[in-house]
């Protein structure tokens, strides 16, 4: 009983930490710098998978 509670808590902390690290990564990547754009952009990227990749690559290098 005691053991299983500890395991479950630690497990939940691990999963949470994963989500947290993901969040930090997205902030550092600049995904929250322009929150206005994506709502238009998602409708645009229809037929150009090549450029989409470029754009995603282009985003990683921001100060």
């Amino acid at each position: 009983m005691f053991k299983s509670i500890v395991i479950l808590i630690v497990l939940s902390l691990c999963i949470g930490t994963g989500a947290w690290l993901f969040f930090i990564w997205t902030v550092k990547r600049g995904d929250f710098d322009d929150v206005e754009g994506p709502k238009y952009r998602m409708l645009d990227e229809d037929d150009l998978p090549e450029e989409q990749k470029h754009q995603l690559k282009g985003k990683t290098h921001e100060k």
Partner: protein, 814 residues
């Protein structure tokens, strides 16, 4: 109007003389000029014809003549960052973006340009980041590609202060994200502990959960809560108790007491500490993003003065950087270029678009000997100028400095909560100390005395007090922003709720800033159509807003004319044309009189007059009017009903000011004011104890906007006005102003209620805790319920706003 009257590309009316007909994909299309036709072909040729379906334009584009400027690789080189041999990056600001489809178009077309790897435009700031291969293309080619589409690129390097602000906002986001994540975990632990308290729990399990709770709370306090701890330390050093100190005190007390209880086996209150920090961080985050959204304006403004200038040395023109110009240098500014620094005209005369400086839409004639400001746009002819001031002392730069000073002066507005904290903090500390002393000397054990003192600090923990203002501000600014109203912060909301005098600028604020023909008075024996036909023919070649208004009127009357004869422009006066009937003059009263035309007196009142003559005989006059906004009358009435005084402050003639203030029933007006006069007038009112809101749009309003208690600007005004203001209306509509004041007043009311409840709670519980009658866990329950009360009262504010001002179903995008 038939479909053919406007250009397929730019949507402007087509001057009949310039009609260009092209057949593309089997359809006959009409353009206003070869330029538009070219751009249309570029866009459809790239398979991006969708642009014309998706765009949603409400403003006019860049003025004609902007696109002749050339771009120089050498000058741009300093803005390029090189990653490796095949990748470089350049940042730029794109002028002329009007809606989301402009950005779509730019990104699509630029990424098809050879050598360009990626282009990303920020929707809010219009800043673009271009990654390119320097071996295949050059910055100048990229700039040329952008300007071919009708946008004006400026190189851009973020200043240190802006980068710091962006970093700050990002770190705040991470702090909040971390706090939210850990608080979520903590909530689970606390739930188990509360359950255990009421229904019994195995002591070892309880202690283990408490340890986990301590583990997740520690980073919340010391990492996420760091800004508060630092603020508290600063306020201690300055001996000025602030909200930060109150928060830090409450949080640290709850945290350290919980640590103590963890070791000695009592109840812990980690959740209290973590929740305060998380919620207050959320409030700061929202406040910060509202601030951030409106701050980008000043970048765009300072980019208006070009980086390079054409220096003339011994009749030879050389391109140098604007920063190296010194007073006395002779420079050349061609049509379509902006003036780099403040200058005096040496040779020639030209019409300048000074709208970035004054907010007035009409071009102004500047002649030899007159001074011109950096950042204004030369529309008509090449001029030679003598440099008067170095770049850093130009009018724009000084204006920006003035604004910055005013903002700094205004910064120490103490928010209501801060003022309260300055009394509350010492008081609570004193009571806690008194409790300890009392119990220590009245037979209690030292542990019990300490426990009672800590109880006081815990119940006095400013949870409700700390939440009272931020939650109300959060709800109000959130609801306001969906209505296109941006408050720069909680203090502005508070201030806007206290305003009792509203001062308006005229052009662009109360009026639309777009002139139209109000009335046509033909000479006896002539018809309106006849002089309209005559005038629209003469004006057909001009891009002046007045010419445009006459053409628009002609189009409405179904008159479409073409010019075969040459039209001569006399800048600042009017136009002259020779046709089969003879000499036609269109222009100001003086212009006609000087040419020997006898002009009868016309009572134009507040209107601009444009006269027409044929072969020296007066034909009639156009009265041109910049119409008031549709909602202006209603908005002013509503403000007056709300008990506010209104006043009109304008640089315009007294007759105009009088007419406008009579029509709108504005209490008072002051005309012919300079920017400094406006600011001085406002300061004088403030000294007599009034709280003043200024509503304006031009750079000439900037000092007034920043000296007012609340400066309010509407989108569509100049960037500096947006930058200076505390309150931004993203839709140019005065009804929003009334809504903003209503929201602010309601918010103030709710904050006061919240503070009352928070205090009432403390008033009851602190004596209980001091007398040792309140077990800490009950204190926590009471604390939670008072917080819930405060938060739901704030949420009530949201419902109140939504009920009073329902949002239109689909907000228009402009």
């Amino acid at each position: 109007m038939s479909l053919h009257d406007t250009c397929v590309h730019c949507k402007l009316p087509i001057p009949p003389a310039d009609l260009v007909i092209d057949e593309i994909d089997g359809k006959e299309l009409h353009f206003c000029c070869r330029g538009c036709q070219g751009v249309y072909r570029i866009i459809t040729g790239a398979g991006l014809g969708n642009f014309y379906k998706r765009r949603d334009w409400t403003e006019q584009g860049m003025p004609a003549g902007v696109f002749e400027a050339e771009f120089d690789d050498k000058v741009l080189a300093s803005h390029v960052t090189t990653h490796n041999e095949t990748t470089s990056e350049i940042s730029l600001v794109v002028e002329g973006i009007r809606c989301a489809s402009c950005i779509w178009l730019l990104e699509k077309l630029l990424s098809k340009e050879p050598g360009v790897e990626a282009m990303q435009v920020n929707y809010a700031t219009h800043r673009a980041q271009v990654r390119f291969n320097p071996q295949e293309t050059s910055p100048a080619q990229i700039f040329a590609a952008i300007s071919r589409l009708g946008y004006q690129p400026h190189p851009f390097t973020a200043g240190a202060a802006q980068q710091a602000a962006a970093r700050e906002q990002r770190s705040l986001l991470i702090r909040f994200g971390t706090a939210a994540f850990l608080s979520l975990q903590l909530m689970g632990f606390s739930f188990a502990l509360y359950g255990g308290y009421f229904h019994g729990i195995d002591p070892t399990v309880r202690q283990m959960i408490q340890y986990f709770a301590a583990a997740v709370t520690t980073p919340v306090i010391f990492y996420s809560g760091w800004p508060f701890l630092r603020g508290a330390w600063r306020s201690l050093k300055n001996r000025a108790p602030s909200m930060d100190l109150l928060i830090a005190m409450g949080v640290l007390t709850a945290y350290s007491y919980s640590l103590y209880a963890l070791i000695t086996g009592g109840e812990v209150y980690f959740d209290t500490a973590a929740m305060i920090i998380t919620l207050i961080l959320l409030g700061r985050l929202f406040e910060g993003s509202a601030r951030h959204r409106s701050i980008s304006g000043i970048d765009k403004l300072l980019q208006l003065a070009p980086d390079t200038a054409n220096l003339i040395i011994a009749e030879e023109v050389r391109t140098i950087t604007s920063a190296s110009l010194t007073p006395g240098d002779l420079i050349l500014v061609r049509p379509g270029e902006r003036i780099p620094v403040d200058c005096q005209i040496r040779d020639g005369l030209a019409e300048l678009d000074e709208s970035t400086i004054t907010g007035e839409p009409l071009p102004v004639l500047r002649i030899q000997g007159e001074s011109v400001s950096a950042g204004t746009l030369n529309l008509s002819a090449s001029i030679r100028l003598i440099v008067e001031r170095v770049a850093t002392e130009s009018f724009i730069a000084r204006m920006a400095q003035l604004v910055e000073d005013a903002q700094n002066r205004k910064a120490p507005i103490q928010s209501l909560a801060d003022r309260i904290a300055s009394i509350f903090v010492p008081l609570v500390t004193l009571i806690a100390l008194g409790t300890w002393v009392f119990w220590f000397f009245n037979n209690a054990s030292s542990a019990e005395a300490l426990l009672n003192a800590v109880s006081v600090l815990i119940v006095a923990c400013p949870c409700a007090l700390g939440l009272a203002t931020p939650t109300a501000v959060l709800v109000a600014s959130g609801n306001a922003s969906t209505r296109g109203i941006l408050f720069r912060g909680g203090d502005i909301l508070e201030m806007a709720g206290r305003v009792d005098l509203v001062a308006f600028d005229k052009t662009g604020t109360l009026t639309l800033g777009k002139p139209t023909v109000e009335q046509i008075i033909p000479a006896p024996g002539l018809s309106e159509d006849e002089i309209l036909r005559l005038a629209s023919r003469v004006e057909s070649g001009s891009s002046h807003p007045i010419a445009r208004s006459i053409r628009a009127r002609a189009n409405l009357a179904g008159i479409h004319t073409g010019v075969d004869e040459s039209v001569e422009t006399v800048p600042g006066c009017g136009l002259r044309m020779f046709d089969s009937k003879g000499e036609v003059l269109v222009g100001s009263r003086n212009f006609l009189s000087e040419n020997g035309v006898v002009v009868p007196p016309v009572s134009a009142g507040a209107l601009t007059e444009v006269y027409v003559s044929l072969n020296g005989v007066w034909q009639g006059v156009f009265l041109i009017h910049d119409p008031l906004r549709d909602e202006a009358n209603q908005a002013v009435t509503r403000l007056q009903h709300a008990g506010l005084q209104t006043v009109l402050l304008t640089g315009d003639r007294p007759e105009v000011a009088k007419q406008v203030s009579t029509v709108l029933a504005i209490t008072n007006y002051h005309a012919s004011l300079s920017p400094a006069d406006k600011a001085a007038w406002i300061v004088a009112r403030q000294q007599s104890g009034q709280k003043v809101m200024m509503v304006g749009d031009g750079i000439n309003d900037a000092p007034a906007l920043s000296s007012a208690d609340v400066g309010c600007a509407m989108a569509g005004g100049t960037d500096i006005a947006l930058e200076t203001s505390d309150l931004v209306l993203t839709k140019p509509n005065l009804d929003r102003l009334c809504e903003a004041i209503f929201i602010a007043r309601k918010t103030l009311q709710v904050v006061k209620q919240n503070l009352f409840w928070a205090f009432a709670y403390n008033f009851v519980t602190i004596p209980l805790a001091a007398s040792g009658k309140l077990a800490p866990v009950w204190a926590a329950v009471a604390m939670a319920s008072s917080s819930i009360l405060v938060v739901s009262n704030s949420l009530r504010l949201g419902r109140l706003i939504r009920r009073s001002f329902p949002v239109a179903k689909r907000p228009t995008n402009n």
